[in-house]
């Protein structure tokens, strides 16, 4: 099975010491060792984006990332997207809930995290920029139009919050 390595992963602000084998992916460790099953695996080969998590703020396909690569890095999964202090949902979560930005819900965590990274770097994306940024995230339920609306609405909400 290969040698086990001890890695420290900071996930949603909590440090976890985990023993992993060299070949274990971040997706497997999050889901099976840390019980963070909000990260969904659809294709398991980097084609669908559903397993996207943020590593040091950047969207990463956790099924194509080795857990050992994430030693000492900050990982954000969908479980950590709401405000850790208040529990208040992230604006993206709020708009996805309010406007039904999901159907089956498999792509939702990956969409939310990819969209968060977009809004963190571009507060007022145009529709085309949202579509382009999310183009590596498949939604088999075909909810693309609604998801774009939710991301744009969240951008508006975040800008409003900044203004106030």
């Amino acid at each position: 099975m290969g040698e086990q390595v001890e890695v420290t992963l900071t996930v949603n602000g909590d440090a976890h010491e985990v023993r992993v084998s060299a070949g274990e992916t971040l997706a497997d460790v999050l889901r099976e060792k840390l019980g963070l099953t909000g990260t969904k695996v659809m294709c398991d080969e980097g084609e669908c984006g559903s397993c996207t998590v943020l590593v040091n703020g950047t969207p990463v396909l956790s099924c194509l990332t080795l857990a050992v690569e994430c030693q000492g890095k900050d990982i954000l999964t969908v479980e950590g997207l709401a405000d850790p202090q208040t529990g208040k949902l992230h604006p993206l979560q709020q708009t996805f809930v309010q406007h039904s930005g999901m159907q089956c819900g498999t792509c939702t965590p990956g969409m939310l995290l990819t969209a968060k990274a977009l809004l963190d770097s571009n507060a007022s994306p145009a529709e085309n920029e949202v579509r382009e940024a999310l183009s590596g995230n498949l939604c088999r339920c075909g909810n693309y139009k609604r998801i774009v609306q939710c991301v744009m609405a969240a951008a508006d909400m975040m800008k409003g919050a900044t203004r106030n």
Partner: protein, 783 residues
């Protein structure tokens, strides 16, 4: 004030918060203490007999707890299919040969490599028409033919002895003789992989002789009953829970996987989890069947259809859990009802082949048939030089036209009643007139009048780029099946509704809560929905055939009515009025004429100690049209218009605009309906534009069972938000709750032909084959 408090409102989904916070647990996410992992050994051959199988090395591998082969599992037919749970003869590449449960997936995989199998490779056949030839290899020699005609477990009464399923009305030959023009065409449709976002997953745990099974199934009742039947135990010994069978699209039906996992768990005496890999899901669940259709239509110059004839051949694959129902659906809806003519003939057959079994996928027979029929209709309109919108308006289904269901087409078996083999035609209800409204609204929104410049004239030509527009209609069942529901009132006035419907993402839990809240006069948030747990929820057909609203929620509405009746009796006694004088709204029960006199719903619940409502849907034969006295058979309808641009040098197809107008009966939740429409449009586009499942012609092996090469459309492949128009047309139907109907799948029927007809308008060449990929378009252009 609106008549309704909840119906018609886009309230947030019941599961939205769970899904947006990562807390929604799918079966694949669950872990039980001591849980083992199952893996399956699959046949590399499309047709082979297992001459010898040695599992001893695998069994000795540390960590392996159970191994199953055909020799130590019950010899039963899962879901009453042709095959057994595990077979001595495998019938397609990917068929299960053995199952292993081990402490980890890695050890289970290692065990599979240690199983020694000797196969005698048998001749195989993959193409439907080849399978129908005399002398073709028989997939099941014991069945005697490759023409599927039902089985003991799944009888289809109306198959002819030659294996064809006929539906004939009037005199087709006479109709063709009366026609000014007869148009014929041979069309093909593709095989499609449902590609649920989460591959098949099942967990089984035994406690003594009681089994709990968590399964991603749309058909909780059927899967549960089948597990019990295969294991030979009472249904009360099996509890099946299907909380989130995510992304159904017809794919979620674990048939034998659930039973095999239960057997592994029994043998190992530990919980066992089976989760398919993406590749397994692509080759070992089921596919939408490929059709070949020989079509013929007679038309008069004025646009009257004098006769229509369909001869459809479907590739059955190695098996199906649904007997011939998909073919029967094609016969009933797209071929039997969508267009009116006195003379109509359908003949369909299903050829058994050594390919993966076929099964349901969004539209269930209608996208397959509709893709053929709607291309033929377009050709007929062109032959008489009539605008294709006008031709459809003139001939499309209307109120009072003959109607039936797939069950009618197959022949009815009711326990204790003599089987019916003649089709008892009913009628389409007044709601069918919504189709004309759909056509008009879609044409208006798409700017048809301005863009349609006549046959053989593209919308625009810009160098090698040509723009075209096309229309197609779609139809599907709005499934009205036996379904039951319980409404359990709590003493604080809140309610829990229980149903065997499954929440796959379509939003059935949300719409059900809206309807129940409406009936009981309570708040949407007061209603909890418990779905698909056979220990608690009552029997029901499952969530298939666009039946969630029209069957499951109908039952929930009746159950809520039943509970409300009890509440009104209690309140009536308290208030000294008759129950029929009461109304419920805003969590109060009050006298209609004296609204200030009333009690809270909570008080009535408390007084009643335990108020419950139960209901089973009234039989479909009780829903009768007043004017004709005939049974109204349900359907849902759609008109779609596509505008496309074709690069005539590369064959590249860009979809510029999609307009789709849907007959919804009554809208319960507009946002959920729009989302379901977008699903049907996207899946319908993928069906012909990009999703190409390739079965190797010489080996029968699927060569692209992955999302790299099985291409699901992305954000950038569907039109932008302003260029996708979902139009909701309301015409209350006779069977659904408040006139609402199941509408989710019809949209997948009209997409492929709307695109094909638009491509024709752009390039002037008809594509009668299965795909509209760049390569096929260029081929059609003769370049």
């Amino acid at each position: 004030m609106s008549r309704f408090e909840w119906v018609g409102k886009s309230v947030p989904r019941k599961d939205a918060l769970e899904k947006a916070t990562g807390k929604a647990q799918f079966v694949a996410d669950m872990q039980l203490p001591g849980m083992l992992h199952a893996r399956f050994l699959r046949s590399p051959h499309a047709h082979a007999r297992i001459v010898a199988i040695d599992t001893s090395k695998a069994e000795k591998l540390p960590g392996v707890k159970a191994v199953l082969t055909y020799r130590n599992v019950p010899k039963v037919h899962p879901r009453r299919k042709l095959e057994y749970l595990l077979n001595e003869t495998v019938h397609c590449a990917g068929d299960e040969v053995a199952a292993v449960a081990a402490v980890s997936r890695q050890i289970a995989d290692e065990a599979l490599r240690l199983i020694d199998v000797k196969y005698e490779v048998l001749p195989a056949v993959f193409d439907a028409e080849e399978a129908m030839q005399p002398g073709a290899p028989l997939v099941y020699p014991e069945y005697g033919t490759n023409m599927f005609h039902g089985s003991e477990g799944q009888p289809v009464l109306r198959f002819r002895p030659d294996g064809w399923l006929p539906v004939e009305v009037g005199d087709v030959e006479k109709g063709f003789a009366e026609a000014d023009h007869v148009v014929e065409g041979t069309y093909e449709t593709p095989r499609q992989y449902p590609c649920s976002p989460i591959p098949r997953s099942v967990i089984c745990q035994w406690t003594g002789d009681k089994l709990t099974c968590w399964a991603d199934t749309q058909l909780a009742t059927f899967t549960w009953q089948d597990i019990a039947a295969c294991l030979g135990v009472p249904q009360s010994s099996v509890r099946l829970i299907a909380t989130y069978p995510v992304g159904g699209y017809g794919a979620k039906e674990p048939d034998k996987t659930a039973t095999l996992t239960a057997l592994l768990a029994k043998k190992a005496d530990r919980p066992v989890k089976a989760v398919f890999t993406r590749e397994e899901d692509a080759v070992a669940t089921h596919h939408r069947p490929k059709y070949k259709a020989y079509e013929k239509i007679g038309v008069k110059k004025d646009g009257t259809i004098t006769a229509i004839q369909h001869r459809m051949i479907a590739n059955f694959g190695k098996d199906c859990t649904w007997s011939a129902r998909i073919l029967a659906c094609s016969a009933c809806y797209s071929c039997g009802m969508l267009y009116r003519t006195e003379n109509s003939r359908f003949e369909g057959c299903m050829a058994i082949t050594n390919t993966e079994q076929h099964g349901p996928m969004i539209g269930f027979g209608d996208p397959e048939a509709g893709f053929c029929v709607e291309r033929l209709i377009d050709e007929a309109a062109e032959r008489i030089g009539m605008d294709p919108v006008q031709f459809r308006l003139k001939n499309c289904l209307r109120y009072g036209y003959r109607a039936t269901t797939s069950t009618g087409v197959m022949g009815r078996m009711v326990p204790g009643v003599k089987p019916t083999t003649t089709i008892e035609w009913g009628v389409a209800g007044t709601d069918a007139d919504a189709l004309q409204v759909c056509i008009q609204k879609a044409a208006e929104k798409a700017g048809w009048k301005a863009k349609w410049r006549g046959w053989k004239t593209p919308v625009a030509v810009n160098g090698y780029r040509r723009r075209g527009i096309g229309i197609a209609l779609g139809i599907h069942s709005s499934g009205y099946f036996p379904h039951a529901a319980y409404v359990k009132m709590n003493q604080d006035g809140s309610a829990t509704v229980m149903s065997s419907a499954a929440e796959m993402g379509q939003g059935v839990a949300t719409a059900m809560a809206e309807v129940v809240a409406e009936v009981l006069g309570v708040h949407y948030d007061d209603v909890s929905v418990l779905l698909a747990d056979t220990a608690a929820t009552p029997a029901g057909f499952g969530t298939v055939a666009s039946s969630g609203t029209s069957s499951a929620i109908t039952a929930a509405r009746h159950a809520a009515n039943n509970a409300r009746q009890t509440l009104f009796e209690i309140a009536g006694r308290r208030l000294g009025v008759k129950p029929e004088d009461l109304e419920a709204r805003n969590r109060r029960i009050y006298v209609r004429e004296k609204p200030e006199t009333g009690i809270s719903v909570a008080e009535a619940c408390l007084l009643g100690h335990q108020v419950t409502g139960t209901a089973v849907n009234p039989p479909e034969t009780t829903i009768v049209d007043e004017k004709t006295g005939k049974v109204i058979y349900p359907c849902s309808l759609v008109a779609s218009i596509a505008e496309v641009e074709v690069d005539t040098e590369t064959g590249q197809l860009d979809v510029l605009q999609l307009v789709s107008a849907h007959d919804c009966g009554r809208v319960i939740n507009p946002t959920l309906i729009e989302n379901q429409i977008d699903l049907s449009l996207t899946a319908g586009n993928g069906y012909v534009r990009s999703e190409k499942l390739i079965v190797d012609k010489s080996t029968g092996v699927v060569i692209n069972p992955n999302l790299l090469d099985y291409k699901v459309l992305t954000f950038l492949d569907m039109p932008r938000g302003n260029d996708m128009h979902e139009i909701l047309v309301e015409a209350p139907c006779a069977w659904g709750p408040f006139g609402a109907k199941g509408m989710s799948e019809a949209g997948a029927t009209s997409q492929a032909p709307a695109l094909a007809n638009a491509v024709y308008n752009a390039i002037g060449v008809r594509i009668r084959g299965d795909h509209l990929t760049p390569e096929r378009i260029l081929e059609a252009l003769g370049k």
